[in-house]
Symmetry: C2
Subunit: 324 residues, 2 copies
């Protein structure tokens, strides 16, 4: 039985930030008929740097789905060279944000096409198609939303906080500049309203800087709430530590208990189910929604695909259209 023909046919929408979320997005890509997967990417960590429009999460997802991601770094392209950065340094340019020579082509060509009037969605469709990605990869919006990190001392542009300052400053909050005027991807709103959606999966991404910027785009939260398909979130923290990145550090600094319960609480009005790690089984009763305990640390490709299948099965079990 092909995936398309199985009873739970339909499209799956994965909501993701960069590296951490991309692991499960790749698992879903492999577990599903590829064209039935939509990956919705956070673009609030996009920024203008060296005169280029850089979309870190979008590119991490694109390279990962295309199978050309850099396995050592987690971000960027494989078979990469670094001649540009070296030469830029010799000329006194800013080198704190590392861009590989191949990765640079994505940013340069995107910037050129944006300046020519194409939308980020159009350009991403074309790039992803050329790189052989058969899933849909959608930016959350074609309008600029920029995460600003509020710290005790000052408000920082996201990449300045994340890369230049290496997440060192203690955060006090986040602001998604431009979100109030941003229009969500029209395809996203259509997909969430359609009957052809099998499930929405909020990948194990950082809630503060990867998922909540997406939810801050007007219309997205409402469309997710009213979506007929089950919405499942996968915890980005396991045993009190983030799967990837500064999620745990941020939770500590914001005075939030580090664990799946607090994550589930942040999504409570949106989700129909929550997936937490076996290690956190004790927290299961406090999630407030139906939950699944699974092994959510994904080290291997097989881990990614296995978790994807478990999440899909869990979503199907919660589908009010087929269950009960």
């Amino acid at each position: 039985m092909t995936p398309e023909a199985c009873p739970a046919a339909g499209r799956v929408l994965a909501i993701s930030g960069g590296i951490g979320g991309a692991k499960l997005a790749l698992g879903l890509y492999r577990a599903l008929a590829p064209q039935s997967l939509i990956v919705l990417a956070n673009t609030a960590d996009d920024f203008e740097h060296l005169g280029l429009h850089i979309s870190p999460d979008l590119d991490t997802l694109m390279y990962t789905l295309a199978g050309i991601n850099n396995p050592e770094l987690g971000w960027g392209r494989d078979e990469e060279t670094w001649t540009f950065m070296r030469a830029l340094g010799e000329l006194g340019g800013e080198t704190w944000f590392r861009l590989g020579d191949g990765d640079l082509a994505t940013s340069i060509e995107r910037t050129r096409r944006l300046a020519g009037g194409e939308t980020l969605s159009e350009i991403t469709d074309d790039f992803a198609g050329r790189l052989g990605v058969r899933a849909q990869l959608w930016p959350m919006s074609d309008d600029a939303v920029r995460t600003r990190v509020e710290t005790a001392g000052q408000e920082l542009a996201f990449q300045h906080y994340f890369v230049r300052e290496r997440c060192a400053p203690a955060v006090t909050g986040f602001r998604f500049e431009g979100a109030e005027c941003a229009r969500p991807s029209p395809r996203l709103i259509r997909a969430l309203g359609s009957n052809g959606l099998r499930a929405v999966v909020i990948c194990p991404s950082n809630p503060f800087i990867s998922v909540e910027p997406i939810l801050a785009v007007p219309g997205v939260r409402a469309a997710l709430s009213s979506c007929a398909a089950p919405v499942i979130a996968v915890s980005p923290v396991v045993g009190g530590r983030a799967l990837k990145g500064p999620t745990d550090k941020m939770m500590r600094e914001l005075g939030i208990e580090i664990g799946p319960t607090a994550i589930a609480a942040r999504y409570r009005d949106l989700i129909d189910g929550f997936v937490l790690d076996l290690e956190d089984e004790a927290a299961r009763q406090r999630c407030g929604v139906p939950s699944l305990c699974a092994r959510i640390v994904m080290r291997t490709l097989a881990d990614r695909e296995r978790l994807a299948r478990e999440v899909l099965r869990f979503a199907d079990s919660l589908d009010s259209r087929t269950v009960g």
Copy 2:
């Protein structure tokens, strides 16, 4: 006796396009105290490509003087990689103009700084200094002048003609767009008016597309004509062939006899002396100005330096301030 202390002390201004002219510019750099050389670069082959400001002649001169030019290609940087071009091609970008990964840093950082309000001269000073160039390298103007190549069929932007079409279309003329409004480098006008100039050397560059765009900038021709120092041109054609590039092809298409006489004629109202190859000695009497026969084909570094010394000696011999 150091070069500065010799009787013919003073600064030397070399006027140059790219590869061909850069050979003699390098010879002069090695023959002179480096800080006494000024190289004035053609910027009419600059263009906007991939959203970047690219200055081919300026960069060829900068890399050559810095000793980091690519000896195989003639243009670009040594120890270069080409990952960007390969990735750009995969994304469907325009790959007809080759930009190495290291070379790209120059264009990206220049574009960023131009957008920030710095002038091409300021940026070039800084880049050249950082790369260890001790000569002065000056763009002819900080304003945009763009060579347009008139052909039987259509008018082409210079790089489209030169690189994309590989100089195939027959030329009928040239137009230097923007020249009428361009302001010459103020340093250039000052240098040409100063008494500290030992000589002006028009390098063996293509007259049509490398030297004449410089002369088309208002004020340059007059400043050269009234300059107290001897102005010497070195022929870019030897034995009926161009030293480099399409000079001979262009002369043929324009109905100009291919040889040093026609070159000297184009510069006649500006120059005090002309240097032609030993092979063209028969043409010497028709140059219309004092001439020097020398070996102007420069294959080795020693050739470059030897010709530079011969040209300087010739210039000194013509200096009305010291001779006769």
